[in-house]
Point group: C2
Chain length 258, copies 2
């Protein structure tokens, strides 16, 4: 690897439109909760997860393909028929809802704002992975096999700002890359890695201070999502975005066991 860089905010990843990403592998991170939800759904057997920015885009998918499941919430509540002109969404955005019984073999269209924007910003990259703490090591193994020239860790952020939990996850990835990547780390990657190292003895406590975590922890129905999403290596699944925008469970490049 020649460069490992972390982008902290939407303003940062908006600059990717001007960069040649053909030799770059991008890893998009939205710990609370878009990429944690995607990874959970794929690990539980979903065929594909299609992130879209708006409710209207999700409804357009349903109109074309009546068997897709819809996921999304506004203000912490699952989207209901009254908001959509008659369509009840099947899920909110809590990863705990995406059980094998509900998702196996299904295509899920999910509304997220920052997560979708971050995934789109990586258009043109050699590969785009969706990562979370839940599939950290699987992602690192895949990166080792892809052996990209340049690695870009794209934190989705909170609104227009940096999100602590995404930075921690980017740092955990940099930490796992180990000594081989040391000389390639940009300052941004050093910042993320050192944040993770300082927090790793109690990751949940550290991440719980973030704006996103505090918002979720204040909601009795959503508070357990924080602990759910802060667990490392629950799923040995690699989530890769295809050219069609859908995220699917990827074969580990180069084959072999895991």
């Amino acid at each position: 690897m020649k460069t490992v860089e972390v982008l902290f905010t939407p303003a940062d990843f908006a600059t990717l439109a001007h960069r040649d990403l053909r030799e770059t592998v991008c890893v998009v991170i939205d710990v609370l909760r878009a990429t944690s939800t995607i990874v959970t759904a794929l690990a539980h057997g979903a065929d594909a997860v299609i992130p879209v920015p708006e409710i209207s885009a999700a409804l357009a998918w349903r109109a074309q393909q009546p068997d897709v499941l819809l996921a999304g919430e506004r203000d912490g509540l699952r989207i209901r028929a009254a908001q959509t002109g008659g369509v009840d969404f099947d899920f909110g955005n809590s990863p705990r809802e995406f059980t094998a019984a509900k998702v196996r073999g299904k295509t899920i269209v999910t509304t997220t704002t920052n997560g979708t924007r971050a995934l789109h910003a990586c258009d043109g990259a050699r590969a785009v992975l969706a990562a979370s703490f839940l599939n950290l090591t699987a992602t690192v193994v895949q990166l080792g096999r892809l052996a990209p020239e340049n690695l870009l860790l794209v934190c989705s952020g909170t609104g227009n700002q940096a999100a602590l939990e995404d930075t921690l996850c980017a740092g955990a990835l940099c930490h796992q890359l180990g000594h081989a990547a040391e000389a390639a780390l940009a300052d941004s990657a050093i910042i993320a890695r050192e944040i993770f190292r300082a927090a790793q003895s109690d990751l949940l406590a550290a991440a719980s201070r973030s704006a996103n975590a505090r918002r979720l922890l204040a909601n009795p129905d959503l508070r357990d999502d924080v602990a759910f999403c802060l667990r490392e290596d629950v799923f040995a699944v690699v989530a890769e975005q295809g050219r069609d925008g859908a995220v699917r469970a990827a074969q580990l490049s180069g084959g072999g066991g895991f």
Copy 2:
């Protein structure tokens, strides 16, 4: 204080053009080396330091005011007459050059790229301070007296990326704000503060891993700048940018000793 936020990159501070900064105090940080140089020059008695983005802008100042001193370098070397059509610059960009004997009572025009861009990005703010490790506590005292609604710590960065040493300095400021600011810290401010806390036992070693520091350390004439700029609280001077763009030593708001 209601909010304390850190901007890590030029892409982040470019978004300030769309924000109402009237209730915001901005602190611009360019540890290696623009704000360290400005603070050193003011501490040694310079009347004003005027940051400009290009050599041509510095020459325009000299043409209008023949007594201004010019500072700047390209590729680590002081700017020479051959590059300017006949004008030798008086200083490079090393803060160690700005001795009292040379700067007392003088106005200095200095070319920097990121530092100037960051200062301009804060146009319209209630106040704009230039900070470095060298005047950390003086800056914090001034912030306490200004008691801004919103505090924005603007890291100048390296090229288009985050700079570790600027993030460490922003974190040191957040650390010194103490418990009173705790609830106001955005995720970005928590990230910066935790980076600083993890590094503070050997700040020089931590900052020496940054891209800027490595570039300076590789140059025998400039390597001592790194240790010079990583010292805390050498100067009890507050550096404030006026509406005219010039940075001057400010009276501590509200009077009193220091």
